[in-house]
Symmetry: C2
Subunit: 574 residues, 2 copies
């Protein structure tokens, strides 16, 4: 393969599947796309509403981004489009700046998508994909759980039909006290009925008896939200429920918006920048994990920067087609793969169906009650709210558990973006804290072996003339003083000391601060006629030490193994 072709393939993974496309794969892709559509239409509209936008924008957000990802992305089954967390973050970014749902709010949502796209594209092209690692799993998990709680609470305003505030818990509690008297009972009953339908119907179709009569019931369960939508539209239409105060989606402009650049100016861009950067980060986290699983199963290489470029291009497409920020949806990707999607063509086909819907069937959704859309959001999001990850994480590691709680309370009690940032910063601090408190042990020889172990945990042989130390961490400015302090105190307890041997088997790096500490230590020990030695220094560390003065002046030696050091320095005990 020529170099040009291979580079083209890197940038356009679609090449691969387009070459071998045939009617068999088309048939599976077509079926999968129909099943995904049944989920995508209600989800798209609901998530648009979640972002504070007209429901029809959820349809727009499912078209161009999906088609663009099909050409640039590596996962054939990834379904890209509106996703709850990203919609929530969009809301959290725009809500403080503009009146929700106003024309300027809508324009800003498109601009936000464009900015998310440009940021992702740039990061991908600059090969900065590794930045994703700045967010640890506990922080992401806690962020998703806390956001899901806020999302669910946020939907109560449609169920109760009163303007509750849900930027954080204190605001929510205050506004509940303010509006609880104005609650609209009809909307609430309709909403609760929808929730019960969505919760109990799947259980019914999962009963063994029902399953056996119907054959497979999977597709029915997946399309229950669509059934609910159709039924509730019919109820509103036939019983004229708008008259009792049930709010509905209302008139939707039919047709598909022309591609256009959203309104922008520098001030607006700067206002949206922090939000856009965080949305870009979280949307990458969400879709990369899906793409990684796909790559491993297909035993194909994965270039995470290329994924970032694909996601960036998809969001630019969203921004230019009157939509809002998108990313890969785990739930729809699973359905798509289960339904037999073979290539990205499945995604392209579902996009085309959505175009048909927005061209000819938008009138149909006019009478869809908002309380029903809110119910679908609450049911789908509530599955994410769990306490168990907090308990499991705390049990495994106090530091990770602490980061989780910090993120959780940050999101719930300040706001979604600040909570995420506090969480991320807390993981850095906790990591630096751990590095600054390394495990340091005096070690001794296990009798009859060549192994050395902690003298406080094991029965080992030591010598009054030799002090053996092992530190289980890279030596950096954060812990070099800890090691020096440990050595000062150890030396003070051994009046006959002649040799100190530092075991380097766990040291993968020595920074300048640690190097200078070792040089100082060597000078100070020399005055006491004590020699400083090292054993089991790793190759890359040795390479670096050779560029320093330490090795020239060192009073002692570098031994290949700790056993050799002890055999030479203290022949009596080996």
């Amino acid at each position: 393969m020529s170099d040009f072709k291979s580079r083209l393939l890197d940038r356009l993974p679609a090449w691969q599947w387009l070459k071998h496309y045939n009617t068999v794969t088309l048939k599976s892709d077509l079926l999968a796309s129909l099943i995904v559509i049944a989920m995508l239409v209600p989800q798209g509209m609901a998530y648009a509403m979640l972002a504070g936008l007209p429901p029809v924008m959820g349809l727009y957000a499912s078209v161009l981004p999906m088609i663009i990802y099909a050409f640039f992305g590596s996962s054939p089954t990834l379904s890209i489009g509106p996703v709850a967390i990203i919609s929530m973050m969009t809301f959290a970014t725009l809500n403080p700046l503009f009146e929700v749902g106003s024309p300027v709010y809508i324009q800003a949502a498109c601009l936000l998508a464009l900015m998310v796209g440009v940021i992702s594209l740039l990061l991908g092209m600059l090969r900065f994909g590794f930045l994703i690692q700045l967010i640890s799993h506990p922080v992401i998990k806690s962020f998703i759980i806390a956001s899901a709680l806020l999302i669910a609470l946020g939907q109560l305003k449609f169920l109760f039909n009163v303007p509750l505030q849900t930027n954080n818990i204190p605001e929510f509690v205050l506004s509940v006290f303010e509006y609880i008297g104005l609650m609209h009972w009809e909307s609430l009953i309709f909403g609760i009925a929808s929730i019960l339908f969505l919760v109990f119907m799947p259980k019914f179709f999962n009963l063994e008896a029902v399953k056996q009569r119907l054959g497979a019931s999977g597709f029915i369960i997946k399309s229950l939200p669509l059934v609910l939508v159709v039924v509730s539209i019919a109820l509103v239409y036939f019983f004229n429920l708008q008259q009792v105060g049930i709010k509905t989606v209302g008139e939707i402009p039919s047709g598909f918006p022309a591609l256009s650049m959203p309104f922008w100016n520098l001030e607006l861009v700067l206002q949206l920048l922090p939000g856009a950067a965080m949305i870009a980060m979280i949307s990458f986290v969400e879709s990369l994990s899906i793409a990684q699983a796909t790559a491993l199963q297909q035993r194909s290489q994965l270039n995470s920067n290329q994924e970032l470029i694909a996601l960036g291009a998809a969001n630019i497409g969203a921004g230019l087609s009157s939509a809002f920020p998108v990313t890969g949806s785990l739930s729809r990707t699973v359905v798509n793969a289960d339904a037999g999607a073979k290539t990205s063509m499945a995604g392209v086909l579902s996009s085309l169906f959505i175009v048909l819907v927005s061209l000819y069937f938008t009138g149909f959704f006019r009478d869809l009650p908002l309380t029903v859309l809110a119910a679908t959001i609450i049911v789908s999001i509530w599955k994410l709210v769990e306490l168990k990850p907090f308990i499991d994480t705390w049990r495994y590691s106090k530091a990770d558990g602490l980061a989780m709680w910090i993120t959780f309370f940050g999101v719930l009690f300040i706001d979604i973006s600040t909570g995420l940032i506090i969480g991320i910063v807390s993981t850095f601090i906790l990591l630096l804290w751990r590095i600054s408190r390394p495990h340091i042990a005096e070690i001794g020889l296990v009798e009859g072996t060549q192994h050395f172990r902690n003298i406080q945990r094991h029965q080992v042989i030591t010598s009054a003339k030799v002090l053996s130390i092992r530190i289980d961490e890279d030596l950096t400015f954060l812990n070099s003083n800890t090691l020096k302090g440990f050595l000062i105190n150890a030396v003070s307890q051994k009046p006959e000391l002649e040799h100190v041997v530092i075991n380097g088997s766990s040291i993968s790096a020595i920074d300048l601060s640690a190097l200078e500490m070792l040089e100082d230590l060597d000078n100070e020990l020399r005055k006491l006629n004590i020699q400083l030695h090292f054993s089991e220094v790793k190759g890359p560390v040795m390479d670096k030490l050779q560029r320093s003065k330490l090795l020239n002046h060192l009073s002692g030696k570098i031994f290949l193994t700790h056993y050799q050091a002890i055999r030479e320095l203290s022949p009596d005990i080996t």
Copy 2:
């Protein structure tokens, strides 16, 4: 020894030397204290001026802090008092808030010392001494060099006798253009003559011929600044140089100020807090390294938190006795030790001499020209300005070198405090960056041994069915994705793969993000009929893994050594 006594000893190290005090030690201490005094008087006055304060406050700052440290500190020779860097930081903290030298400025300097003391004391009592490690050596070095440059530039205002600004280089350049025409030639000539005296007289006394005639010339060299002070006072007095416009120290209130609480209110405390915290940190860095060297040489234990408590008490003493922030002075400590000081009594004695000076001899300093004090500062500080550390550091490590330059330019072009903070933050970012890019290698067996080495560096045996991976870093959220990406790509290149073995010899910690990555990886590999194994897992890591689900579900095994793993999984190659 009773528990009470041992705890008293921890808090009051003075107990030890007071018990054994006698006339022999008194004689050495007395001599040393006289030699230190010769340095301390001009230094103290000069550093007070550096802090923007009346020179006499430099005398006050050398009394109570020194006496207090003698009782609480662990180093018998450490000379505590005014120090150039800390005076400069005091100036940088107060200069933006108050008019330099005004009564409120002076009160704020006392309050600052008190706050530095309280912060240090609290940190010591809470055992937070390890926080000192947040500042790496390259940052400290660069901070000192850049500050020294600014200090030297700052003295030019006394040499030129015009109000030059020296908060940063751009301000300095602008004010030079503004004031260069108003320069006072007589002051400049007097100042340059003083500089030449201080630079060339030591060279003269160091000539072999002169040394032999005088016997030891060390003491003479040490007291040259005092000689200069006396000579210049005489010149001003006899030739009435004030009349040509030479500025002098002026009338100094004789007597010693009564202990008093400096004026304070909450607003002022909050304004001074960031500066106080940084001064506390730097003053601890400065004196701890001296105390560590002392402890090692005496083979005594060192409790760094106790040092912090001693330094805190000393600064509280400074705040209550009309002085400004103090710390251990390396230059005076060296002189003190060289002059034969045996115990902290040497410091106490020099304090008592200073009291005598401030009670009876302040009138003597009335005619001391400011340009001469400025000259002593420039000469003593200029030794700190070097380029070599930048070159050496850069050669050893690009990350440390980068941190140095960032600190340097931050201090010179923004200001001393911001520069320090930028420098510290940059080291954190560079550390996280390094951790996020660990060294990962596929390893193979070195023929005829049980050792495994990087397949790209060494001639080793591998098997198509087994992939051996070693990562030279703890597994955390910062690098777990890097490892996963490496594995995905390695798996894609080995179609016959059946086993993946991760060598844990360099892994001292696995955080939750990395644990979950491993669990995911195990699940994904299982679907491809590939088993995941570990070898050489360290004890503490194993303890932690046993609290997780990974070990229960793991498709493969944990092997004690990598060789055992390969022998079992791929018997053909061993």
